[in-house]
């Protein structure tokens, strides 16, 4: 499999506080790459830096063999790097439909808007029933699905999911992970997944990185990572 995204020695932070201390990772085309680690490890910051909403101060980001380290966020979204952010960041005063339409804001995505709509409605039938409802009035689980659906509307090639199962009931967590599998197998997306749910992530992932204090501490196949007592005890707390 060829490389979709390569992050090399990335550095970034907020003001004078450095958060990322040169982590490097690779996401292979058509794979699910899982990024695990405790709270405050810098996982969200890494995704935000890849997307450009946090400006990198060092290192490089190579996407489809192009250097996009300092490309502005909207250009990266146009190229197919899309984030379903932690904390959802939905447009709570707009309807479900309008949120999805905003997802198709990139010019390229706009051309496929009808196909994308029927695709996300078949992935998340509940959203079709709620299409005219105001996003702020959806349940937590429905909002999480809308966040993923909105990201899918942007015609991603690489979709980054930041804690998609956070705060969801076990049944919904299962649904979210089934959807992630479908996104890989049926739609052919490349997925970079940040999760707290270690067991489910190890089950879904093709490759796993362990992040701690802004650095990559370990990497490997999910069986290998799951089998290592040291890694589980030191970084995953299980």
């Amino acid at each position: 499999m060829s490389s979709m995204l390569r992050v090399e020695n990335l550095e970034s932070g907020y003001g004078s506080m450095q958060v990322l201390w040169k982590p490097s990772l690779e996401v292979k085309k058509g794979s699910i790459t899982s990024l695990l680690g405790p709270n405050g490890a810098g996982k969200t910051t890494l995704l935000q830096t890849i997307l450009g909403s946090v400006e990198p101060s060092g290192g490089s980001i190579i996407y489809e063999e192009r250097d996009v380290t300092h490309s502005p966020t909207h250009e990266k979204v146009d190229m197919g790097i899309v984030l379903a952010p932690e904390g959802k960041h939905l447009f709570v005063g707009m309807s479900v439909h309008e949120n999805l339409i905003m997802g198709a804001f990139p010019k390229e995505a706009k051309k496929y808007i009808d196909a994308s709509l029927s695709m996300v409605y078949s992935l998340f039938p509940i959203l079709k029933e709620r299409t005219k409802q105001i996003a702020g009035l959806l349940s937590g689980g429905e909002q999480q699905m809308l966040t993923i659906a909105r990201a899918l509307m942007s015609k991603p090639k690489l979709i980054m999911l930041d804690e998609p199962s956070q705060g969801l009931a076990p049944l919904l967590v299962q649904l979210v992970f089934e959807t992630i599998e479908k996104m890989k197998v049926e739609i052919g997306l490349t997925i970079l997944l940040v999760e707290q749910n270690v067991e489910a992530s190890l089950k879904a992932a093709d490759y796993v990185y362990i992040m701690h204090e802004g650095r990559i501490k370990a990497e490997g196949g999910p069986e290998e990572i799951g089998a290592s007592r040291d890694i589980r005890e030191a970084y995953l707390g299980i």
Partner: protein, 295 residues
């Protein structure tokens, strides 16, 4: 007799209210998108008035044509001040943007004074008037009212139906959410500031129809204050709320004038000026999110 007077004044109040509404939409838009309170707001209204005056009395161009000119010049000013000043202040503490817009207001006033002097000026469009049994309405006021409504409706459709307008609403709701959707948020800030200023300068054109000899470099201050009250009435970050609040404000202001005039020994005009602040005081006491505001 008093009822007749009241009804007549309410008609004038409604017409002026439409212009107040338009004059506040820009303030609300800029606040909604950038969280910046434009303290120099009134100075941009003044610029619109001087554009109208100059076009009419120097070049003989109709105030109707001053509207698009005002929009273009307002947007140009908006882009200029955004890229030179405001862009640096989006993430700065609020005091910085308050001071900066205050300074921009003074700068505009002094530049206009340098060019035109500090005298009160005016012009006479000479359109004629409609004579009703209860009052006489100059046609120009009706034009200003219709113009304000047309512009407000146009803005409404731009916001709700176009791709870019929806993107502006998205930035108002959640700028980070808009960013991950691929919206160039920096450009939306610039565009919204320019449109906000453009609307404000256009409202200055409309306002000249209500102040026959009131055009002066320092005329803006009172409209800044009124716009603040109207913006709070309308729920602060909603341009439509601002427009309706403007109508209500115009009605109350003009209606109250007639009633105040009935109180013996009271000068009605200063009392009317203070009314805005009584309204603000009681509104904040009763419903701090604004009359039409949500939550």
């Amino acid at each position: 007799m008093i009822l007749q007077l009241l009804a007549g004044n309410l008609i004038h109040g409604l017409l002026l209210g439409g212009v107040y509404g338009l004059a506040t939409m820009g303030l609300s838009l800029i606040f909604g998108v950038m969280n910046v309170v434009n303290v120099g707001h009134g100075a941009f209204i003044m610029v619109g008035a001087f554009i109208t005056l100059t076009l009419f009395s120097v070049l003989g161009i109709s105030p109707v044509l001053a509207i698009p000119v005002a929009l273009l010049m307002g947007m140009a000013l908006g882009f200029f001040f955004f890229y030179t000043v405001m862009r640096r202040l989006i993430k700065a503490p609020e005091l910085a943007s308050l001071l900066a817009t205050f300074a921009i207001g003074i700068l505009l006033e002094e530049v206009v004074k340098l060019i035109f002097g500090a005298d009160f000026r005016g012009y006479n469009w000479g359109l004629g008037k409609i004579v009703l049994p209860i009052t006489v309405i100059p046609l120009s006021k009706i034009y200003a009212f219709i113009g304000s409504i047309v512009i407000a409706l146009f803005l409404y459709f731009w916001f709700s139906k176009t791709r870019l307008g929806t993107a502006v609403r998205a930035v108002v709701e959640d700028s980070e959410g808009a960013r991950v959707c691929g919206v160039n948020v920096g450009w939306i800030y610039a565009l919204s500031f320019a449109i906000g200023i453009g609307l404000t300068v256009m409202s200055g054109v409309m306002l000249t129809m209500f102040i026959p000899v009131g055009i002066n470099p320092y005329m803006g201050g009172v409209y800044t204050l009124k716009a603040f009250v109207i913006a709070v009435l309308g729920g602060l970050s909603s341009p439509y709320g601002a427009f309706f609040a403007g109508l209500i404000f115009g009605l109350i202001e003009n209606g109250a004038y007639v009633l105040f005039a009935q109180i013996p020994g009271v000068a009605p005009f200063p009392l009317t000026v203070s009314l805005a602040f009584w309204m603000l005081f009681f509104l904040l006491l009763i419903k701090p999110t604004g009359l039409l505001g949500k939550k």
